[in-house]
């Protein structure tokens, strides 16, 4: 299959706690003809902390990565919603030539702010990709959760609708699953508050989990490591606070894609989640 090359910026968590996102992303990309060429020596985009406390740092950290992609003359693809958002928002600020020149000085590299940045979700949901669905996700009700940073602000990110995005839903339909019509697709999960204010994350993720359950979802599909952490890792705390079991698996959309394309649960690292998706998947006949 013809491979379309992309400059790949995985983001820190995909090399850390969220290695399953990286592994599943690489598997499905290869199968779908998306050639991921990882940036050499990429660095943290600064996430929530850089722009929050230092304007220039919030631009320079993404810019160093963007410059690498620009030099490779390839569009950059980002699986992490945080990284995607930081790249796009930094580029937006750098449309101001004075800002761009200050950033160029800070990174000590010539950067023209001319790179194309796409979220991995958009690339993998493209209709032009030739996907061989071997095991359709028949009967699986998926609540597609996009989070904030993938879609907001729509005016700048130019990816999908701020309130009712459809990219992941259409992809899930294509894979044979049944996307759930729900209203929490882009409500905030608490983002980086997990460490300094876990109570905030617990409250917000519990709303998302309960809304998904009330609309009949079997699982939540995500496209952001931070969202995944807040919905999966924090679920046990939510359960403890509410004194009830929720057991709503949160899976990366790449993992669900991988299942439909015929990869094994093991290869897709479905065992990495704290809320074990296997019982649900087994009951649907989607995993052995």
């Amino acid at each position: 299959m013809a491979q379309t090359p992309y400059a790949y910026f995985p983001g820190c968590t995909l090399h850390g706690t969220m290695l399953e996102y990286n592994a599943s992303a690489r598997l499905v990309c290869e199968a779908a003809g998306v050639d991921l060429r990882e940036l050499k020596d990429w660095n943290c985009c600064g996430a929530w902390s850089a722009h929050t406390t230092d304007y220039m740092l919030g631009l320079a950290l993404p810019a160093r990565n963007l410059q690498k992609a620009e030099a490779m003359q390839l569009p950059m693809v980002v699986p992490c919603a945080v990284g995607f958002s930081r790249m796009k928002l930094a580029m937006h600020e750098m449309e101001n030539p004075a800002v761009l020149s200050a950033v160029n000085q800070a990174i000590d590299k010539p950067f023209k702010n001319s790179v194309v940045v796409e979220p991995l979700l958009k690339v993998l949901a493209s209709d032009s990709l030739d996907l061989e669905v071997k095991k359709p996700l028949q009967g699986l009700k998926v609540a597609c959760y996009y989070g904030c940073l993938l879609v907001r602000p729509q005016k700048i990110l130019k990816f999908d609708d701020e309130n009712n995005p459809q990219t992941m839903d259409k992809l899930m339909s294509r894979l044979g699953a049944e996307p759930v019509d729900w209203d929490f697709k882009t409500e905030c999960c608490g983002a980086g508050m997990s460490m300094p204010r876990p109570d905030v994350v617990n409250r917000l993720s519990s709303k998302i989990l309960l809304a998904a359950r009330s609309m009949g979802a079997d699982c939540i599909a995500v496209a952001c490591p931070m969202c995944h952490f807040n919905l999966d890792f924090h679920q046990r705390e939510v359960e403890a606070e509410r004194k009830e079991k929720i057991q709503m698996p949160a899976l990366y959309f790449t993992q669900l894609m991988g299942l439909a394309l015929g990869f094994s649960a093991k290869k897709l690292m479905l065992d990495k989640h704290l809320v074990d998706p296997m019982p649900m998947l087994k009951s649907k006949g989607m995993a052995a």
């Binding site: 609708d161 701020e162 309130n163 009712n164 019509d181 729900w182 209203d183 929490f184 409500e187 309960l210 809304a211 009330s214 609309m215």
Partner: protein
């Protein structure tokens, strides 16, 4: 030899506060052919006008320059003033030293004064070359066209007809009645809407002076005030309304159910239908988009896809044979002296607001949809049942300003009626079910109107509605509940209310198609497509096109009493016009110099009014000639005329050039 008088107005401090009046008068006195110059506190006052009349007599003035405000404000006033002193009214010029000078140069008095002197100098130069002009007289067609059959149009039509003039009312829907007919009750009296509207609809239909054309639209308008020639498209209804008795057999038997526009999608109607029980006329039309037989006929042309049933049930059972599948669209041409535009409004489509569910959540409905649910003649027989499962809601949240006060979606204006209809809905919901709890999110409560504040208080006291100050940000489903998130901005805390039904107070928008109509009528609309009045305060129902009047919610958000008053006001203006036997036309029209005309007829192509005609001279040449009664004096032909054969009376090239050259000092 011209003897010119210049009159400089202070306009209180509007002009005098910026322009040095004494210096201006002194300068005017020295201008060529000026024999008299004076100032006045208010030239437009009776004293100011007398001073002009006296000066004309005393100083034997034969031309006058009034240096004051915009000619749009007082040109007619001062033309009358000089005419009453025996001068031809077109020998008066206005130098606008208010809007064009003092108001825009308040920060530079020196420059403003010197600009005022220049403006007066230009007017003096022009008035020197002005020639007396005489208006022509044309006959009047004493009939009125009313466009739009809502409460505004109904009122206007009845008032004009009762004054003895013929009226044709054109309504594009199959029935008159408009938005008011969709309402269950009206604020602040809780009158039953149908009970007060239906008698007026019947009066209109039975009025000997009124011709009612429903399912009809204005196609084109030609001519001018007193003599408009209007083409009206009578759409094909496929039902012969002469034969039809309105017995109702057809719409009972029609097998095709579609969403009722009248019920805002809350109920169904048939393909052959009357929009509602009290419709006027009470005779049905066939909706060609859903009719099975029409679909069959379309299929028969191509034979593509599945064959639809041939149906024709209505035709088979009609006792008078009124179904006419061949009925053509008709174009009627009628003459009118005046036109009243009362095209009303539609409500904001909330599907653009994704945060409120984007129209996908069945139990998030609009205020107008709630009216239909509460109406005894509505789809639920007046029972308030929520659309998703038919349950009776116990907690209802009303959300204000949906599609109002929102720059983001290009709707920065206040829709004016929503606060009051929210209070009304609260009171009515409580009457429907005493156990119901009502929460109303608002930003500001606007109750400027007779008995409005009391009515708002009643919603709190009687209906126990809790008004929460804050705009809602999000509505989401959680099982069967709708969670509404707002802020109580008075206590500064986020609020979440689990509701069974959410009612969005959708705002007021201009009707569809109003822009095209405005172009047809040569009247203006604003950036929201509301029609523009000639003056927002002093000429609220006139437009800049003589003989065309606007009324009701087509001009901007209005409630029923205002719309009725507006309809009456437009009618009064139309009656005043139609009562004249003939009209004087503006003499400032174009005129062709036949010697210079090269017969290219470029003027025929550019004129929007069809004023240029052809005339064959005795030497055999055919040249352009302007029909003065059609010419509006816009000047397009003058620009288009390559040999410069056309001039505008009152604005001849010589006059305009004199103004410009007066600046070479």
């Amino acid at each position: 030899m011209a003897r010119i008088g210049v009159f400089v107005c202070h306009c209180g401090s509007n002009i005098a506060g910026v322009v040095d009046i004494n210096r201006t008068v002194e300068a005017a006195r020295k201008m060529p052919q000026v024999v008299y110059a004076a100032d006045a506190k208010y030239t437009c006052s009776e004293a100011g006008q007398s001073a002009i009349r006296d000066a004309i007599k005393q100083h034997r003035l034969n031309r006058v320059v009034v240096s004051a405000c915009s000619p749009r404000m007082h040109e007619n006033t001062f033309r009358r003033t000089v005419a009453s002193a025996g001068l031809n009214p077109y020998l008066m010029e206005i130098a606008n030293i208010r809007e064009h000078c003092s108001w825009v140069h308040g920060d530079n008095k020196e420059a403003a004064t010197s600009k005022a002197i220049d403006l007066i100098g230009m007017a003096v130069a022009k008035v020197t070359r002005d020639e007396p002009l005489t208006p022509k007289r044309v006959s009047m067609t004493p009939r009125a066209l009313v466009i739009g059959g809502g409460i505004t149009g109904i009122q206007a039509a009845l008032d004009i007809a009762n004054a003895g003039h013929e009226v044709v009312l054109v309504e594009r829907e199959p029935s008159i009645g408009g938005r008011m007919s969709q309402l269950d009750k009206t604020f602040p009296t809780l009158d039953c809407s149908a009970c007060i509207l239906t008698p007026k609809m019947v009066d209109l239909a039975q009025h000997p002076k009124i011709t009612l054309l429903t399912s009809a639209e204005v196609k084109s308008v030609n001519g001018f005030v007193g003599n408009f020639e209007v083409e009206i498209r009578q759409k094909s209804r496929l039902v012969d309304h002469v034969k039809c008795t309105g017995c109702g057999t057809c719409w009972q038997k029609c097998p095709e159910n579609v969403n009722s526009e009248f019920d805002m999608g809350m109920g169904k109607r048939k393909s052959i239908y009357i929009p509602f029980a009290q419709a006027v006329p009470n005779k049905p039309v066939i909706d060609t988009a859903s009719c099975r037989y029409i679909k069959y006929l379309k299929w028969a042309e191509t034979k593509e896809g599945k064959k639809p049933p041939e149906c024709r049930i209505c035709e088979k059972i009609c006792p008078t044979g009124a179904i006419d599948w061949e009925q053509p669209e008709q174009i009627l041409t009628e003459k009118f002296g005046a036109i009243v535009v009362a095209t009303g409004f539609k409500t904001f489509d909330h599907s653009v607001l994704g945060e409120y569910g984007g129209g996908r959540i069945p139990d998030v409905i609009s205020g107008l949809q709630l009216e239909r649910l509460m109406s005894a003649s509505g789809p639920t027989g007046g029972e308030v049942k929520r659309p998703s499962d038919g349950a009776h809601p116990k907690t209802v949240v009303i959300v204000s300003c949906v599609g109002s006060r929102d720059d983001r979606i290009g709707r920065p204006y206040c829709s004016k009626i929503c606060c009051m209809y929210n209070a009304k809905h609260a009171i009515m919901l409580k009457e429907h079910d005493p156990e119901i709890q009502i929460y109303i999110f608002y930003i500001d409560v606007r109750t400027g109107g007779k008995d409005f504040e009391e009515f708002y208080r009643r919603s709190q006291q009687e209906a126990g509605a809790l008004w929460i100050r804050g705009r809602v940000s999000k509505i989401h489903r959680e099982g069967k509940k709708l969670i509404v998130r707002g802020e109580d901005s008075l206590i500064g805390r986020p609020v979440e209310i689990p509701a069974d039904l959410v009612v969005l107070a959708t705002g007021v928008e201009a009707s569809d198609g109003v822009v095209g109509l405005a172009q047809t009528l040569n009247i203006s609309h604003d950036s929201y497509n509301f029609l523009v009045e000639a003056h927002p305060k002093l000429r609220p129902v006139e437009t800049h096109t003589d003989g065309v009047f606007v009324a009701g919610a087509a001009v901007g958000p209005r409630d029923i009493p205002e719309s009725v008053a507006h309809g009456g006001a437009a009618a009064a203006k139309a009656i005043g016009l139609l009562s004249k036997e003939e009209l004087a036309t503006d003499p400032m029209t174009a005129i062709v110099d036949p010697v210079k005309c090269v017969s290219c007829f470029a003027c025929h192509e550019v004129c929007p009014f069809g004023a240029p005609e052809k005339e064959t001279l005795r030497d055999g040449r055919t040249v352009s000639v302007i029909n003065e009664s059609k010419c509006k004096g816009c000047g397009l032909c003058i620009v288009a005329c390559r040999p410069g054969a056309i001039n505008l009376r009152g604005f001849t090239s010589q006059q305009v050039l004199a103004e410009v050259t007066s600046l070479w000092r």
